[in-house]
């Protein structure tokens, strides 16, 4: 596997870390829960890595490991999305009150 250039990847990682910090720093506390859930969804991108790992598995042991990783990654993605969306639905001003829940 051709590895990426460690220096430029390192710079990217540092910039991404500061971006994450800056974006969160301005968030009001009432959004902490949805935000934790939302960031949980975003690291679901691990699914992409699991897919690549499974695609190039060359023996049954690697296939099993890759399969499990994809199952877990996919659960992180869809579960994380559904939970975040359900939490944020509560903040949606256009649908408020208990009656609105039936629409969603």
């Amino acid at each position: 596997m051709t590895a990426i250039d460690p220096i430029s990847a390192g710079f990217i990682a540092v910039l991404a870390a500061f971006t994450g910090y800056e974006v969160i720093a301005r968030v009001p506390s009432l959004l902490h829960t949805p935000l934790m859930s939302g960031s949980n969804f975003i690291h679901g991108v691990v699914l992409v890595g699991a897919m690549v790992a499974l695609a190039f598995a060359t023996n049954p042991a690697e296939q099993v490991l890759g399969f499990v990783a994809v199952v877990l990654g996919a659960a992180n993605v869809t579960g994380g999305y559904a939970v975040t969306d359900r939490i944020l639905e509560m903040f949606d001003r256009s649908k408020k009150g208990p009656g609105a829940k039936k629409e969603g």
Partner: protein, 491 residues
């Protein structure tokens, strides 16, 4: 088959687009008005990233792994497995997530975060088995694998504790810290062994460490078992009240593990998204710990609530009150401040509370909500539930905004909150000492709605309940508030 170089650009282009969408989504999620659209943007980014990965790993393996040596039949079999795995994992998780009750959301975040950590550990394991990377990258895979497995096991414990399938109280035993450190050290040793062991693999370090007892695969297996063990050991001494902080910490852990795997597998999307979550999650964890006036190390290592304060005698007694009397008190009050807690969430009382607010407002009573940063089980938990019931945001006040106002309130009503209103936090020597609380005891009358006489999450006796201006209204919060609404309508 597409030209690998060309399709590599397409793949990375889509990953860049996905990254932009992730950052934009986080930005949108920082405002209540746009938050819901935010997650939609993140979802779009994720969909694109997954789609391009699925298409290109089949059409052009070279886009991911230049010069990969894999037969077409094997690749097709793997792609079939991939589709099945996505359908199973994604389908079940989605169905579960849309069915659980809103009050159970914190543990759902924990379990799905744990699954992400498990996936990260799996990817690291595969990178370490294949060993096609230079040793530096394999080192990052070792670290990513360790953090991922710790996050997986720890999140699982957090889930079990919050779900009530495991004892919520801290589980402690003598020598626990020493054992934990030994487990972690052992994991690191076996991680180093797998890394240093050459065994004729490409690119590994020149020296071969001969381990007479274990082979490289055994060492790898032990490494992951010990990593999982450490995650388990790390989470069991933590009590229910501290779980939100720990879930947030494991969330940051998974982000870091994903980023490290991104280095090991040359995946920029994973590096950026993982670092975003790693840093944002770390900051969020610190903010949450700060709201409880605890340091992260204090949360992790002090087994809060395992010990009880001794030698403090409660003066006075808990004085019960009837719903009808409370209704009269409320109806003739000028200002009522409601302090909700987890008890309100458990009883699903938020809709009734909203109804009570409407009735009181019709009677020209000013109603405000005092939201402690850690009321409930996650920061913002109360805001979510009250918003669900239709309470407008401008009725919700942070601790700092409203604490001065309790003195001018006729009634402070505590609904299923305990530790966050406990004046013991002002007393040196109390386990709660120093935790910022809502000063409900400053109000003229304090009404505490409570199911029974039990203690809060922290297991500390609540001084508030014994104060002269405090009255206890016992019962399930939803039924009690419904009764109050009835009584109020009669007045």
């Amino acid at each position: 088959m597409l030209d690998p170089t060309y399709s590599g650009y397409v793949k990375d282009g889509v990953y860049i687009l996905a990254t932009i969408l992730f950052i934009y989504a986080l930005h949108e999620m920082s405002n209540p008005a746009t938050a819901r659209k935010g997650v939609l943007w993140a979802g779009a980014g994720m969909f694109l990233a997954v789609l391009v990965t699925a298409v290109f790993s089949g059409a052009s393996p070279g886009a991911f792994v230049p010069g990969i040596n894999i037969s077409q039949a094997q690749l097709e079999e793997n792609l079939g497995l991939m589709a099945i795995a996505i359908a199973i994992g994604g389908g079940l998780a989605y169905l579960w997530a849309i069915r659980v009750k809103m009050t159970d959301m914190p543990q759902m975040v924990a379990i799905y975060n744990g699954m992400g950590g498990g996936a990260a550990a799996g990817i690291a394991a595969l990178a370490l088995i294949a060993r096609t990377d230079p040793v530096g990258y394999l080192g990052l895979a070792v670290v990513g694998g360790l953090i991922g497995s710790v996050s997986f096991a720890g999140s699982l414990i957090a889930f079990l504790k919050l779900q009530g399938w495991m004892r919520q109280k801290p589980i402690t035993f003598p020598g626990q810290k020493t054992i934990n450190i030994l487990v972690l050290l052992a994991a690191i040793v076996f991680g180093a062994v797998t890394l240093l062991n050459d065994s004729g693999h490409v690119g590994a370090i020149g020296t071969s460490v001969a381990i007479p007892v274990v082979g490289i695969n055994t060492a790898l297996l032990l490494f992951f078992v010990l990593g999982l063990g450490y995650g388990f050991m790390m989470a069991i001494p933590i009590g229910g009240a501290d779980m939100p902080v720990v879930i947030s910490l494991f969330n940051a852990f998974t982000g870091m593990a994903v980023a490290l795997d991104g280095f090991a597998t040359s995946n920029y999307a994973m590096i950026v998204a993982g670092m975003l979550v790693g840093s944002a999650g770390s900051l969020l964890t610190m903010l949450m710990a700060k709201a409880m006036n605890r340091s992260i190390s204090n949360v992790l290592f002090s087994a809060f609530g395992a010990t009880e304060e001794t030698g403090v005698e409660m003066k006075g007694s808990m004085k019960p009150i009837e719903a009808a009397d409370v209704a009269a008190l409320l109806a003739y009050a000028g200002k009522v401040i409601i302090a909700p807690g987890y008890g309100m969430a458990v009883a699903q009382a938020q809709h009734k509370v909203k109804e009570m607010m409407d009735v009181l407002e019709k009677k020209d009573v000013v109603v405000k909500f005092a939201i402690h940063p850690v009321a409930g089980r996650m920061p913002g938990h109360m805001n979510v539930l009250l918003a669900e019931a239709g309470v407008p945001y401008d009725h919700l006040y942070d601790r700092d905004e409203i604490n001065q106002e309790f003195a001018s309130a006729d009634v402070a009503m505590v609904i299923g909150a305990n530790d966050v209103v406990n004046p013991a936090a002002r007393r040196q020597g109390s386990p709660l000492f120093g935790m910022p609380i809502l000063d409900v005891d400053a109000a003229k009358n304090v009404i505490v709605l409570k199911r029974g006489q039990g203690k809060g999450f922290a297991g500390v006796e609540n001084d508030l309940f014994y104060k002269d201006n405090t009255r206890m209204l016992y019962g399930d919060a939803q039924e009690t508030v419904a009764k109050l609404v009835q009584e109020l309508k009669k007045l």
